[in-house]
Assembly symmetry: C2
Homo-oligomer: 186 residues x 2
């Protein structure tokens, strides 16, 4: 078994619009270039496939996160790098998932809410403020910051590539990847 066969989980957490998916995509691309098998479990895609019908109460959010965590654990124990990008606002459930995965790297994308709201890529904050979307994390629903995330990236004044580099640097220091040569493309 080579280094590239070791499965682990990179768990991005943060507000809507914080930049989780954008940073995750850069990390995923680089890990694939290094020869890892990588699966990006995006919050919206997982809701569609595993959690249709669930809402945004704490109970339903917890169920959704547990399901993402279970799939991530199955992937990681089979040598795949599972990268998740879901808000995952509750600390206890993130820690519960952490307990089920050998190598769990929590990445807190710590973008201030006013920056997320100014970006408002999907127009969700406007709808949350107007009351059209209830139970919106950071506006009308809690977000519990990680107390001891392996990586904390602050994105308000940094490039996406710098944030991704910070994550990769952590993974290298932890012995989970190394910046080897790109695999041959025949």
């Amino acid at each position: 078994m080579t280094d590239h066969d070791k499965g682990f989980c990179i768990w991005f957490t943060g507000l809507s619009g914080a930049g989780k998916s954008t940073i995750a995509e850069v990390v995923v691309e680089e890990l694939r270039r290094r020869g890892h098998r990588v699966e990006l479990l995006d919050g919206d895609e997982v809701r569609q496939n595993l959690s249709k019908g669930l809402g945004f109460s704490k109970e339903d959010r917890d169920t959704n996160i547990r399901r993402i965590g279970w799939v991530a654990a199955v992937l990681a124990r089979n040598g795949v790098v599972a990268v998740t990008a879901a808000i995952s606002p509750y600390r206890d459930i993130r820690d519960e998932v952490r307990g089920q995965i050998d190598h769990f790297v929590e990445v807190f994308v710590d973008t201030p809410i006013d920056v997320c709201e100014e970006r408002d890529v999907k127009g969700l904050y406007a709808k949350a403020r107007s009351g059209e979307i209830p139970e919106f994390t950071g506006v009308s629903d809690p977000y519990e910051e990680p107390l001891a995330a392996e990586v904390r990236v602050v994105t308000d004044d940094r490039e996406v590539t710098a944030s991704a580099a910070q994550v990769l640097s952590y993974l290298e220091d932890a012995g989970l990847t190394h910046p080897g040569p790109a695999p041959r493309h025949d």
Copy 2:
């Protein structure tokens, strides 16, 4: 990429008590011995982790099977052999899942219902006959046999190992595995 890095799906289908899990476990053990990464997605375990709250109406069964299929597809595209052992009684949903996975090997465990009922390992048929369990496949709910399964095993007069050998033989003919030497155990 070696042969052992190719992901695929072995989808067992058949009545409760037909022997799906038992045969699957033997196949899984042998594939692991050959160096494959293998994950067994057992029907009961998946219900617990991905489908809590779902019942046994056609709609709920379909949702459960779609979720198993989605996880199997994610595993297979990452080089893992996903082995599923769920009744999966409806043909249209099995075929829907088939359409989402490159190498899909459907194994019909064709055990007659009277044999399953005589075994009644979990005591479920007795409860189904007494009406204590409604919507029980083969008793009060339909089972739609595959029309063109890659493998059909008849277990009423055969050993489990013979059934498993039949599945492995198909996989070898299809170029998905080969009976190579066992990996070294250091």
